[in-house]
Amino acid sequence: MNGIEPVRFATCAGMASVGQTERSVRVWAADDLRQMMEIPVRREVFSVAQAGDHLVFGLDNGGVMAVRLVEGGGRR
C-alpha cells in the first residue's frame, strides 16, 4: 500500500487507497470502511488525489492517469 486519500463524490464520503503490488485503487466508505469500488490501474500506484469528479493516480515511470467517476460529484 502506498497511500490513502479522502474522497467525496456526491453525498458519499470515503477514501481511496492505492496499492503497489495489487496495482489497483480501492474506494472505501468512510463510515464503515466498506469497499465501494475497485479500479484496476494495471500499474503500480503510488499516490492518489481527487480533482473535481476525477480521481488522479500517480504511477510509475512518471505516469499520471485520471479517471472520472460516473456518479459525478462535489469536492475538488
Binding site: M1, I4, G19, Q35, E44, H54, V64
Partner: protein, 1186 residues
C-alpha cells in the same frame, strides 16, 4: 435466470450472485423462488434486487418460516436426507425416467433412431459387444478396470450403451417390441448414467454423487471419499456407472479430468464396494489420445475390431431400419421380411461395419422405395458422405432449397446449435433465401430430417436450437459443400450476416450463440476485423473465445482492438459495465483510441487520460499477491499453459488469453522451483522449496499426485530430463545435495553431495551420447568448479574451474553443441562467461544492470538464447543474448521489481518470453515486436505526490514525476497547463495553500542535504515565494489563527521536528518535536474549529521503504503541545496517514500497513477534550482475488 448462492449475510439472508449478466435480477422479482438444482428443491425466496449489479438477496426457507410462521414451512425443513430410509434414498438417486438426457440421448440412441420424436426400435445388433458388457455388469467380482466402449464415428457406441441403459430400466424393457430378442441388460443393473457432452468434470462428479446419495462434492477430487462413504453404508448394493460421450465433454481438459479423477480412481479403488465403470468415447479428441489416458485401467471394447463386428448385427439393424419399425410406412415394400432381409444383408455387407452408413442407406430405401430394390444391383461407396448425399437427395425441397442446403448451416454451427432465427439468417447468407420459420421448424421435425437433426431443450438461453446429431454428418455436409463453395467464403458470409443480426438487435440483447461463437465464425471467415469494429461486441462476448480469434486481425483498428482485449485479461469474467471501465483504462494507457473512454455505455468509472507510455509486453498477467518465485511452461489438455508460483499459491495461465485457468494451493512454506515432469505418460507439475519435499500436481485439477520426501532443505532448483526414454527429475538443495528421482516410482535414483561447499547451479546437458547434469560447485577461496555428472552411474565425467565466483549456471542447447553460461549475482555489468563442455571459454557477454536473479537458456524456434533477470526492489529487466552472435538482442523493461523467473511458452502468437518476479506480475513478451534495447527511452520516476488545484478556472492536477520539474495537467483532458522548474531534482511533497485568496501550489524539493519550498501562483505562472533550508520530506497546509501556513518535516534524526512556515509573517516556527520516532507523515486537521496537526511517527527498517512502529499524535501547531497520541496496533508496519478536515471531526486518519494490508482507523472524539481512539476494527483489504 441462473446464479450462485454467495455469501451468507446473517439473519437468514444470503446473497445471490447473478452469473448470467444478460438477465440481472430486477425490481419485481421479490417473492420468486430460489431453486437449487443440486438439491432439486426450493431453498429460499428472492427478496431484494441490487439494481446496479444484477445480484440479489434472498431469505432461506428457515428464515421465511420464522417470519411467516402461519405458513408452517417448518414441515418442509424439519426433514433431512439423513432421516430418509433406504427406499427414499434409492429414489433420491438416479433413474432413467427422471434423467433429462433420457429423451435427448439415451432413448433415441438405444432405439437406433436420431431423435426422441422418431418412433421405432431399430437397434438390433452389436451382440458381441452387448454380451461383453452384460458379462461385465454381472461379474461376481468387479474388475479393477473401466470398460471403455470405443469405435469410429458412426460405429454405434452410444447405441450400445443406450441399449444397456434403457433395457435395464423396467418400464422401457416392458415396452420393447415382442420381436426384439437382442441382448438386454439385467433389470436395475445401471445405477447412474451420465451423458458427458458439454459437461465439466465437477458436473459429472455431482451427477454421480447424486445418484449414489453421496455428499455433494465441491471439487472433483471430493467425489471419491464421498462416494466411498455413501456406498460403505450400503454394502449390499452394486453401483454401475455409465459415462457416454466422454470425448464431447466441455473441454479437452475436462475430458481428461473425468478420466483421471473420476473414472480411473473409481475403477481402481472402489471395486471392493462393487463399483463398475463403463465409458463410451472416441479414441481421440482435439487434444490427442484419450484411451491412453486410462492407462492399464482400460478394458477396451473396440466396436471396429473384428471380434465385435458382426454382419448379422448390422443386418438386423438395417432390416429394422428398412422396415421403419415402430414408425411403419404404408406401402413399404420391405414390410415383408423375406423381401427386406436380402436387401438388409446387402446393405450390411456394403456398409463395412458402419452403422451410420447402414442407417442412412436403409432408411432412404425404407422411406422412399415403392418397390423393393434388387440387392444384387445395389452398390454404394462406404462413406458417410455419399450415403448422406443420397439420403438427402430423396428428401423434398422447401421452396428453392434442397434438404442438403437446408442442413448446411447446421454443419457450420458451433455447439449447442442454431436457433430457428439464426438458422434462417444463415440460409439467407449462404443461399439468398430462407423458408418461413414454421416451414423450417416443420422440416427439422419431419420424420426424414429429424433422423439427422438434434434438438436441444427449450430451456436453452436462445430457446430451441438445432444441430446435426452426429459430427460425421457435419463433416460430410461440409465436404459436399466444398464442391461449390469455399469453407472460408461460407464462414465469411455467415459471420457477416450474424454481425448484422447482432448490430440490429443490439449486442446487449443479441442471441447467446452470437456472443459465444461469432468470433470463431469471423475468424474462420477472415472477417474478424469487421466483428472487432463493433464497439459493443467485446462488452458482451465470450472473450475467452474472442481473444484467440482477435489475433487474426489485419487492419489497424482490428489490431488495436485485439491489443486492447489482450491487455485487459480482467475483462474475461467482468460484466459489460465493468468491461467498459476496464477497456477505458487500457485504452488511455496503451494509446488505443477513444472508443470506451468516450462512449455512453454505462460504467462505474471511466479513464479519461494518461501520460504513461504504452507497454511493450504482449500481456501482463495479474493475480498473484506475492512475488513470483518460479515459472515453467507445460502442456495440459492439449494446450500449452504457463505455471507460476508465489507465496500466495500456484497459478496456471492460458498464455493465449491471459486467463487464470486454475489456481491451487501450495504447502506451507515457500516454493522456489517449478518444472514440468512426465509421470505415467502424463505431464505433471513439480514444485519444491522450503521444506525439501518435491510435490507433484496434476495440472488439470490442481490435485496433488505424489510427494517425494527430500532429505535436503530447502530446494532451490528442479530439472526434468530423460535418460534413454525414462523421465527423471533432479532437485538441487542448499544442503549441498543434488538428488535424482524417478517420479513414477517416487524413488531416489542417485544423489550427489558436495563435500564442503554449496552447489550453486544445475542443468541437464547431452554430452558424449548420454544425458549428464552440469553442476556448479563452490570450493575453497570462493573458486567454483563445473562438474559434468552422470545421474545414472554417479560418475563425474569431466570438471573444470571457472573464473571468479559465479553463482548462476545455465545450459544452452546450441546448434553447434551445448554451452554452459556462468555469472555472478552481485555487481553491475558482471560478465557472463560461455564455456564449452571441455572448459574452454567460448564467449564473454557483458552483463545487465543490477543484481542477477535468474540465468537460463531458452529456445525460440530454432534459436537458442540466453536470458537473464536483473533488478532491485524498484525495477527489473530481462536481458536476452544471442550466444552465437555474442551480442545482446533484447532488453525487456517494465517490471517494477527484480525479475527472478524466466521461461518461454507457446501461444497462438508463437513463442513468447515469460518473466516474473518481485512485482507479482507475470509478463509475456513477443521478441519480434518488442523494442530494441537502444529504442528504449529513459524512464521517469514514480509519482509519490499529487495535488489538485484550479488554474485559470480549470481544475488541474500537479504531479511530481519528472526530475527537477512539476507538471500541471488539466484534469478533464490531460492538457499540459504548466511546467514548473525546481531548484532540486527530487520532488518530495506537494500541497495547495491559499495566499491572498488565491490558491497556490506549494512544492517541496530537495536533495541529500538541501531542500526548498516554492509557492507557485497559477494565476501568474510564476513562483512567488521560496523557502530554502535543509531537506524537506513531507509538507502540509496548516492554519495558525486564521493565517495560512505550511507545516513541514524531515525524516532524519538530527532534524526530527515539524516546523511551521507562517506565510503572512514569513516566520518559521520550530514547532513539534516528537520523541516517538521519526516523523513519517503530516496532515492538518480541523477538530471542532481547532486547527491541529496530525503526525505519524515510527522507525525506518533496513529495507527500502520499510517503516516500523507507528504512533499517531495530535499537536497544536504553534505551541508544540501534544493533545493526544495513539499507537498503531500493528507495530511492525510502514504507515501512511491522511485526514479530511472537511468531513467533520468524527474521524481523523487511517493507516495502511505495508505487509498485512490493513486499514487502521483512528477516531477523534471531540468533547471537553480531544481524544484519539482506535475505531475498534482493523479492516482487511481484500486483494483482487478476494
Amino acid at each position: 435466470m441462473h446464479g450462485a448462492v454467495g455469501e451468507a449475510l446473517g439473519y437468514g439472508w444470503m446473497r445471490l450472485d447473478n452469473l448470467v449478466s444478460r438477465y440481472p435480477v430486477k425490481a419485481g422479482f421479490s417473492g420468486s423462488a430460489v431453486w437449487s438444482p443440486v438439491y432439486q428443491a426450493v431453498i429460499g425466496m428472492v427478496s431484494q434486487a441490487h439494481t446496479a449489479t444484477g445480484d440479489a438477496r434472498a431469505l432461506s426457507v428457515r428464515a421465511i418460516d420464522r417470519l411467516l410462521p402461519d405458513q408452517e414451512l417448518h414441515h418442509l425443513i424439519d426433514w433431512s436426507l439423513e432421516a430418509a430410509d433406504e427406499t427414499s434414498l434409492t429414489s433420491w438417486g438416479w433413474s432413467l425416467d427422471t434423467d433429462p438426457e433420457a429423451g435427448r440421448h439415451w432413448h433415441p440412441r438405444a432405439r437406433g433412431v436420431g431423435t426422441a420424436a422418431e418412433r421405432g426400435f431399430r437397434f438390433r445388433g452389436r451382440a458381441a459387444a452387448l454380451r461383453e458388457i452384460t458379462q461385465w455388469i454381472t461379474a461376481v467380482s468387479p474388475h479393477r478396470q473401466a470398460l471403455v466402449v470405443t469405435g469410429a464415428p458412426g460405429s454405434g457406441k452410444s447405441a450400445v450403451l443406450g441399449r444397456i441403459i434403457t433395457t435395464a430400466d423396467r418400464e422401457i424393457a416392458a415396452e420393447l417390441p415382442p420381436g426384439d430378442t437382442a441382448i438386454r441388460a439385467p433389470l436395475g443393473a445401471i445405477s447412474c448414467a451420465v451423458h458427458a457432452k458439454g459437461k465439466t468434470a465437477l458436473e459429472v462428479a455431482q451427477e454421480i454423487a447424486r445418484a449414489a446419495s453421496a455428499a455433494m462434492p465441491k471439487q472433483v477430487i471430493d467425489l471419491l471419499p464421498s462416494l466411498r462413504a455413501s456406498l460403505e453404508a450400503r454394502p449390499d448394493r452394486t453401483f454401475t456407472l455409465v459415462v457416454d460421450a466422454l470425448d464431447e465433454a466441455g473441454t479437452t481438459d475436462e475430458a481428461r479430468a473425468i478420466i483421471h479423477h473420476i473414472m480411473v480412481p473409481l475403477a481402481e479403488t472402489c471395486a471392493d464396494l462393487r463399483v463398475r465403470v463403463m465409458v463410451g468415447t472416441r479414441r481421440r479428441d482435439d487434444a490427442g489420445d484419450l484411451l491412453g489416458a486410462f492407462g492399464r485401467t482400460a478394458r477396451i471394447v473396440d466396436l471396429d475390431a473384428p471380434a465385435f463386428t458382426s454382419v448379422a448385427d448390422l443386418t438386423a439393424y438395417a432390416l429394422s431400419t428398412l422396415q421403419l419399425q415402430g414408425d411403419e410406412r404404408a406401402g413399404n415394400p420391405y414390410a415383408d421380411d423375406d423381401v427386406a432381409r436380402p436387401v438388409a444383408e446387402r446393405i450390411a455387407a456394403l456398409a463395412d461395419g458402419n452403422y451410420l452408413v447402414a442407417g442412412l442407406v436403409a432408411r432412404a430405401h425404407g422411406m422412399h422405395d415403392a418397390t423393393a430394390v434388387d440387392p444384387c444391383r445395389m452398390s454404394f461407396p462406404v462413406t458417410v458422405d455419399s450415403s448422406l448425399r443420397e439420403y438427402l437427395r430423396l428428401l423434398p425441397d422447401i421452396g428453392l432449397l434442397s434438404a442438403e442446403k437446408l442442413l448446411t448451416p447446421l454443419a457450420y454451427a458451433e455447439a449447442p446449435g442454431l436457433s430457428i432465427g439464426l438458422w434462417r439468417t444463415a440460409l439467407t447468407a449462404l443461399f439468398s433465401t430462407a423458408p418461413a420459420e414454421s416451414e423450417l421448424f416443420g422440416f427439422a421435425r419431419s420424420s426424414a430430417a429429424n433422423f439427422l437433426v438434434e434438438t436441444t431443450s427449450a430451456e436453452d438461453v436462445d430457446g430451441v436450437t438445432f444441430r446435426l446429431f452426429h459430427q460425421a454428418l457435419s463433416d460430410s455436409l461440409r465436404t459436399v459443400r466444398a464442391d461449390v463453395a469455399l469453407s472460408v467464403s461460407d464462414e465469411r458470409e455467415l459471420a457477416r450476416a450474424y454481425i448484422v443480426v447482432g448490430a440490429q438487435t443490439g449486442w446487449a440483447a443479441a442471441p447467446a450463440y452470437l456472443l459465444r461463437s461469432l468470433g470463431v465464425h469471423a475468424g474462420r471467415g477472415g472477417v474478424i476485423d469487421e466483428l472487432l469494429a463493433e464497439d459493443e461486441y467485446p462488452l458482451y462476448a465470450d472473450l475467452r473465445r474472442l481473444v484467440p480469434q482477435a489475433r487474426l486481425a489485419v487492419t489497424d483498428k482490428g489490431r488495436q482492438r485485439a491489443r486492447l482485449l489482450r491487455h485487459t485479461p480482467r475483462a474475461l469474467d467482468a460484466p459489460a459495465a465493468e468491461r467498459a471501465a476496464l477497456f477505458s483504462v487500457t485504452e488511455v494507457q496503451e494509446d488505443l483510441g477513444t472508443t470506451y473512454r468516450a462512449s455512453e455505455i454505462a460504467a462505474p468509472y471511466r479513464a479519461v487520460w494518461s501520460t504513461v507510455a504504452p507497454s511493450t509486453e504482449v500481456a501482463v498477467l495479474e493475480g498473484h499477491r506475492k512475488q513470483v518465485a518460479a515459472l515453467c511452461s507445460l502442456r495440459s489438455g492439449g494446450r500449452e499453459l504457463l505455471a507460476s508460483v508465489g507465496d500466495d499459491g500456484i497459478r496456471l495461465w492460458d498464455p493465449g488469453t491471459g486467463d487464470t485457468v486454475r489456481t491451487f494451493t501450495k504447502p506451507s512454506g515457500w516454493i522456489g522451483a517449478l518444472c514440468a515432469v512426465t509421470m505415467g505418460g502424463r505431464t505433471c507439475l513439480a514444485g519444491a522449496g522450503q521444506d525439501g519435499d518435491l510435490r507433484i500436481w496434476d495440472p488439470e485439477t490442481g490435485a496433488p499426485v505424489r510427494t517425494l520426501r527430500g532429505r535436503d532443505q530447502p530446494i532451490d532448483q528442479l530439472c526434468a530430463f530423460y535418460v534413454e526414454g525414462r523421465a527423471l527429475l533432479a532437485s538441487r538443495g542448499r544442503g549441498r545435495r543434488v538428488t535424482v528421482w524417478d517420479p513414477d516410482s517416487g524413488a531416489a535414483v542417485r544423489s550427489f553431495r558436495a563435500r564442503t561447499h554449496a552447489i550453486e547451479g544445475m542443468g541437464a546437458v547431452e554430452a558424449e551420447g548420454r544425458t549428464l547434469l552440469a553442476l556448479l560447485t563452490r570450493h575453497e577461496e570462493g573458486r567454483c568448479k563445473v562438474r559434468l555428472w552422470d545421474p545414472i552411474t554417479g560418475d563425474t565425467v569431466r570438471a573444470f574451474f571457472t573464473y571468479d565466483s559465479p553463482d548462476h549456471l545455465a545450459v544452452l542447447h546450441c546448434e553447434g553443441g551445448p554451452l554452459l553460461a556462468t555469472s555472478e549475482s552481485i555487481g553491475d555489468h558482471d560478465p557472463i562467461v560461455l564455456w564449452d563442455l571441455t572448459g574452454r571459454e567460448v564467449q564473454v557477454l557483458e552483463g545487465g544492470e543490477g543484481t542477477l536473479f535468474e540465468l537460463v537458456g531458452v529456445r525460440f524456434g530454432d534459436r537458442t538464447l540466453l536470458a537473464a533477470g536483473y533488478g532491485d526492489d524498484e525495477s527489473g529487466t530481462a536481458v536476452l543474448w544471442d550466444p552465437a552472435a555474442g551480442r545482446e538482442i533484447r532488453r525487456l523493461e517494465g517490471h517494477d521489481g527484480w525479475v527472478g523467473a524466466l521461461c518461454t511458452v507457446e501461444s497462438a502468437e508463437g513463442t513468447l518470453m515469460a518473466s516474473a518476479g518481485a512485482d507479482c506480475t507475470v509478463r509475456l513478451w513477443d521478441l519480434d515486436t518488442c523494442a530494441e534495447p537502444d529504442q528504449l527511452g529513459e524512464p521517469g520516476a514514480w509519482i509519490g505526490s499529487l495535488a489538485a488545484l484550479e488554474v485559470h478556472g480549470r481544475i488541474a492536477v500537479a504531479s511530481s514525476g519528472m526530475a527537477g520539474k512539476v507538471e500541471v495537467h488539466d484534469v478533464a483532458d490531460g492538457t499540459l497547463l504548466g511546467r514548473i522548474d525546481l531548484p532540486h531534482a527530487s520532488v518530495t511533497s506537494l500541497c495547495t495553500v491559499e495566499i491572498s485568496d488565491r490558491e497556490c501550489l506549494a512544492i517541496a524539493s530537495g536533495d541529500r542535504e538541501e531542500g526548498a519550498i516554492q509557492i507557485w501562483d497559477p494565476s501568474t505562472g510564476g513562483v512567488i515565494r521560496c523557502l530554502t533550508g535543509p531537506r524537506i520530506d513531507t509538507l502540509c497546509t496548516a492554519d495558525i489563527d486564521g493565517r495560512p501556513s505550511l507545516a513541514f518535516a524531515t525524516r532524519e534524526e538530527k532534524t526530527n521536528r515539524v516546523s511551521v512556515w507562517d506565510l503572512p509573517t514569513d516566520e518559521v516556527i520550530q514547532s513539534i518535536s516528537s520523541e516517538e520516532g521519526l516523523i513519517r507523515e503530516l496532515c492538518a486537521l480541523d477538530v471542532g474549529g481547532r486547527h491541529l496537526i496530525a503526525v505519524l511517527t515510527g522507525h525506518f527498517g533496513i529495507w527500502p521503504g520499510e517503516f516500523s512502529g507507528g504512533v499517531v499524535s495530535l499537536w497544536h501547531p504553534t505551541s508544540g503541545e501534544m493533545v493526544d497520541s495513539l499507537a498503531s496496533p500493528t507495530p511492525s508496519s510502514a504507515l501512511y496517514a491522511s485526514s479530511t478536515p472537511r468531513t467533520g471531526p468524527s474521524w481523523l486518519s487511517q493507516a495502511i500497513t505495508r505487509r498485512t494490508r490493513t486499514i487502521w482507523s483512528v477516531q477523534v472524539r471531540c468533547g471537553s477534550s480531544i481524544q484519539l481512539t482506535a475505531a475498534g476494527l482493523t479492516y482487511r483489504i481484500f486483494t483482487m482475488d478476494g
